[in-house]
Structures are given as structure tokens and as C-alpha cells.
Amino acid sequence: MAEMNVPESGGKKKHAKKRSKKMSTRVDLTAMVDLGFLLITFFMLTTTFNKPQAMEVNMPEKDDVKDEDRTKIKESEALSIVLVENDVVYFYVGLENPMVDSTNFSKEGIRKIILGRQQEVEKASGNKDNLTVLIKAKNKAKYKNMVDILDEMAITGVKRYAILDFVKADSMIIYNTVGKAAGQK
């Protein structure tokens, strides 16, 4: 960069003059490239690629449904899941003297239960899609739990599930079993 054209002496003078007139077309790009990469880094770090995803929910119509219009499901093809506080989830089958058990949202928790139930239903009726999951959430449950459980439905491929209100009957079922278990201990 810091070169000087020293004119050569002697008879070659004419020739050297001609050569020095040949201007170099190369421009020093270092600064520009530096700037370019700086901006790239900036935009790379500020860009967010992951757009939020949307989980579509279709709720049934809320209008008064006559009792005879309600879908009846067989007890043998049902699974009730109750979401409560502190990321605990209770599950049971049927209504009369159900065995209520609790688990969590981990991979080994509720997912295993759902998959196991799917197999049972498949054995009993030949099609695992006959399983209907009834999801009930207590008011104290976190929204995250609801999303998690809807997610489990997508992961395990449960075709039919319903979100229901948590009513007193449900709390009785849980209280009866869980309360008894606590009493035995």
C-alpha cells in the first residue's frame, strides 16, 4: 500500500513513465466488507425466525343442547383427565367407583397413561380412535397445563376429546379416592 514509484534512471526512462501511468483499478474493500459483516451480524442477531404457532381450537356450540342430542360415550371407551393446581393431573376411567390416580405432565406421566388406554380400547373395540378423552380443568389449574394436555392429544393422536367444566361431581370422585388413600397412609 505504501509504495513509491521510484523513477529508474537511464535510457529506460521513457518506458517507466508509461508504466506508472497505468492506474490500478483495485479499490480497497476492507472497510466496506467490515461494515457489511457488522450489519449482517446485527441483522442476524435481531432477526427472529420463529413466528408464533397457532393451535386451533374448535369448541362445540354453546346453545342449549337437549339431553337426547348429547353424544353418549361408552364407559369402556372413556378416559377422564382432571387438571388441578401444581401441575398435577388426575385421571380415571368411568364414573362408578373409578380408580383415581395422579401423575404429572412428563413424558412418562400422562402420555403413557393415554397410550396405555388407547391400547386397551383397541383391544376391546378394535379401534383405538374410539377412545374419548374428557378434559376437565379446575379453576386453579394453569393455562399452560391446558395447552400441555391439548398437546398430548396431538402427540398421542387422540381423535376425540372434549373440554368440560369441572363440576362438583368430579371433585367428589377425586376427593373420595384421594382422600381415602391419604387416610390409609
Binding site: 474493500l29 476492507t30 466496506m32 466488507v33 457489511g36 459483516f37 450489519l39 449482517i40 441483522f43 442476524m44 435481531t46 432477526t47 427472529t48 420463529n50 413466528k51 408464533p52 404457532q53 397457532a54 393451535m55 386451533e56 381450537v57 374448535n58 369448541m59 362445540p60 356450540e61 354453546k62 387438571l83 413424558k107 380443568a137 379446575k138 379453576n139 386453579k140 389449574a141 394453569k142 393455562y143 399452560k144 397445563n145 391446558m146 395447552v147 400441555d148 391439548l150 398437546d151 396431538a154 402427540i155
Partner: protein, 183 residues
């Protein structure tokens, strides 16, 4: 050198064109993750946000739509004393979370006015009304619920119930992405 420069500027152009700056959000909402793969569309969104404390915020995209919405509110509620400059402030506001009667106060001081959330009071039913206005202002609008993972389900249920009362049975829950586990 030239090649490197070319690459650098190509990347630069790419990032510049794809970047969309995150708009200022009225409230902080940490969304839960799910394996859902549907992308949320960029426009025509009516977003109901629920934050950790259970405050509900209402937001609709597109300033033109917001202007129509503002005029609808004004028309329907002549008792609320809006000031002329409020319209502009409303157009610029992404989301708001105050009962309608406090709206002028919020619009006069959008930065500092404390927002305590929309009133979900069933007697007044302001959210239901706002949903109706929102859909009238932009018939193509989609309803999305963006709730904090740690919000009580209770509040979200209340919002969903109001939606269902308005015969909106199809809506989106906004989540972030999580890898789908292998079966």
C-alpha cells in the same frame, strides 16, 4: 476479496429484507410451547391477551381497522367523553386493557396510565361488544388468544366462554414451537 464482499452484501440484503422488528408489546406474556404446526397469519388478527395476573387485553391489527373500531365505540357509547386527539392515539395503540369508560384517560396518557385489564363483567359485557365491533370493522378477522402459561385457566376459560357466547367457536391459541417427540 470481491467474492467475499459479494457474499457479505447478499446476506446483508437478505437479512435486511426478512427482518421485521418486533413491535412494542403492551404487556409481557410468556406463551407456553406446543407441537402445533400451523403458522399464525400476519394480518387480520384480533388478539386477546391474558397476562400472568389475569388481566385481559384486547388488540386488533391494522390502523385503518382500529380507526373504524374507535368510531364504532364512540358511536355506541356517546356517554364516554373522547377528545379529538384520542382517535390518533387509539390508532397507534396495539392493545389496550382498561374498561371502556377509562379509555379516554388511557388515550390521553398511553405510556403511564395503569391498565388493569378489560372488564369481563357479564352485565356490561364489554369484551363481547368489542368482539362484535372488531368483527364488524374487519369481517375477515381471526380470533387468537395469547395467554401466559402461568395464568390461571379460570381467566382463559372466562374469555373462551365470552367467545362462545358470541358464537365464536373457532379460535387459535398462540403457542411457541416445541419439537414433536418421536413415538
Amino acid at each position: 476479496m470481491t467474492a467475499m464482499c459479494d457474499v457479505a452484501f447478499l446476506l446483508l440484503t437478505f437479512f435486511m429484507l426478512t427482518t421485521k422488528f418486533k413491535p412494542d408489546e403492551a404487556i409481557k406474556v410468556e406463551i407456553p410451547a406446543s407441537v402445533a404446526e400451523t403458522k399464525l397469519p400476519d394480518k387480520d388478527i384480533l388478539m386477546l391477551q391474558v397476562d400472568k395476573e389475569g388481566r385481559v387485553f384486547y388488540g386488533i391489527d391494522n390502523q385503518g381497522v382500529r380507526q373504524t373500531l374507535f368510531n364504532k365505540i364512540k358511536e355506541r357509547h356517546p356517554e364516554i367523553a373522547f377528545q379529538p386527539q384520542n382517535e390518533r392515539a387509539f390508532m397507534l395503540m396495539d392493545a389496550f386493557g382498561v374498561p371502556l369508560e377509562e379509555l379516554p384517560n388511557l388515550l390521553n396518557d398511553p405510556k403511564n396510565y395503569p391498565q388493569k385489564g378489560l372488564s369481563l363483567d357479564t352485565t356490561k359485557n364489554e369484551l363481547g361488544e368489542l368482539l362484535l365491533f372488531g368483527r364488524q370493522s374487519n369481517p375477515a378477522v381471526r380470533i387468537a388468544i395469547k395467554a401466559d402459561g402461568n395464568a390461571d385457566y379460570d381467566k382463559v376459560k372466562e374469555v373462551m366462554n365470552i367467545l362462545q357466547k358470541r358464537n365464536i367457536n373457532k379460535f387459535n391459541l398462540i403457542t411457541s414451537t416445541r419439537q414433536k417427540p418421536k413415538p
